[in-house]
């Protein structure tokens, strides 16, 4: 098949793949006011009530929120330093971090993770789950 016939077919395939993916993403969107931490659900206000807050600097900006390491300890995670933590957003965006990173991280009132020692790619918005691995 010549290039001139192949180019529109590839473009059509791309439109199809991206459209099907859009439908899939929309259908699998999770909307929740709660954050599931190791199997137990908490609201943001509950998290802010039980944990201590701190301010961190990330990319020359200051952010205040609940300390992620304190959150893990207060929610009863045993031996927290021996685990890794998968932070999952409502749109399935997820990032796995180490305990060392959790010690430098917060969760803001908007339900977003910020780490002072990690790039902005680790800022997970609309967190719905923190899985302990």
């Amino acid at each position: 098949m010549g290039k001139e016939k192949l180019i529109p077919i590839i473009a059509l395939g791309i439109i199809l793949i991206s459209s099907v993916s859009s439908v899939y993403v929309y259908a699998n969107q999770v909307n929740s006011d709660h954050i599931d931490i190791n199997g137990t659900e908490y609201t943001i206000s509950q998290i802010f009530f039980i944990c201590k807050q701190k301010t961190i600097e990330s990319n020359s900006e200051l952010f205040t929120g609940v300390s992620l390491d304190d959150l893990m300890i207060k929610t009863g995670i045993s031996n927290p330093e021996k685990h890794e933590y998968m932070i999952i957003a409502s749109d399935n965006y997820q990032k796995t971090v180490k305990w060392e990173n959790m010690k430098n991280g917060i969760i803001t009132a908007e339900g977003r993770s910020i780490f002072s020692d990690l790039p902005k790619a680790f800022r997970v918005k609309n967190i719905v789950k923190i899985e302990v691995i």
Binding site: E4, I10, A11, S21, N59, Y93, T96
Partner: protein
């Protein structure tokens, strides 16, 4: 075409691309607009395709990606700037791969259906590949490390977000080809002063913008 002229073209188009990523891209990101897709489908594709059309020199877009990515590192604001710099550099490489088999006179794009299709294909593949590459490289360069499962579950979202880039690419390429019909020429005596001045201006604005943000 002489090597110095191409080199000046790489610096010019790379600087314009980097400038638009830093100033316009960052503004779009701050406005919560899909900055990545808009920047790839509109700006990155415009600069890469225009340079390919004017200079007919394969390999040039790779150099432009390096220049633009480096300039992005000078503006550490608006989204993940390391991710953006990596993505921009990757976009230059991917453009080269996609357009490797295309003739330099762009003969295949004489029919509108082909120019639209090539715009869709280029913008989508460049955007999606750039996105995936940054999702791998950025965690790898951080202390957290890369986890394949984090990427796999997010693939549908990446494929979906590329739709906007594809649509914009489908508009961009035919629009630039339409401009090709306007005969624009520049005298050799003006070429180097113009390219160097515009490039320096782009870098100065980006650096001044960074200094202003830091001091505000």
């Amino acid at each position: 075409m002489e090597k110095m002229k191409i080199f000046a073209g790489i610096i010019l188009f790379g600087s314009l691309w980097g400038f638009s990523e830093c100033i316009i891209g960052s503004s779009l990101h701050d406005l919560n607009l899909p900055a990545g897709a808009i920047m790839t489908g509109l700006f990155a594709l415009t600069f890469m395709f225009m340079s390919r059309m004017i200079y007919r020199q394969p390999g040039m877009q790779l150099g432009m990606g390096l220049v633009a990515g480096t300039l992005r590192l000078f503006n550490p604001f608006g989204g993940c700037f390391i991710c953006s710099a990596i993505a921009i550099m990757a976009e230059g490489i991917i453009f080269e791969i996609i357009w490797y088999k295309m003739s330099l006179d762009l003969y295949e794009l004489r029919k509108p259906i082909n120019s639209i299709s090539m715009g869709i294909t280029s913008a989508y593949i460049i955007y999606v590949s750039g996105y995936i590459i940054t999702q791998i490289l950025t965690p790898m360069l951080s202390s957290a490390g890369f986890y394949l499962e984090n990427l796999i579950v997010f693939i549908p979202q990446i494929l979906s977000s590329g739709l906007l880039a594809a649509i914009l690419g489908g508009i961009t390429i035919p629009s630039i080809l339409a401009i090709k019909k306007i005969n624009l020429t520049i005298k050799d005596s003006y070429y180097y002063p113009a390219t160097i001045s515009i490039s320096i201006l782009c870098w100065l604005i980006v650096i001044a913008n960074t200094i202003l943000i830091i001091n505000s």
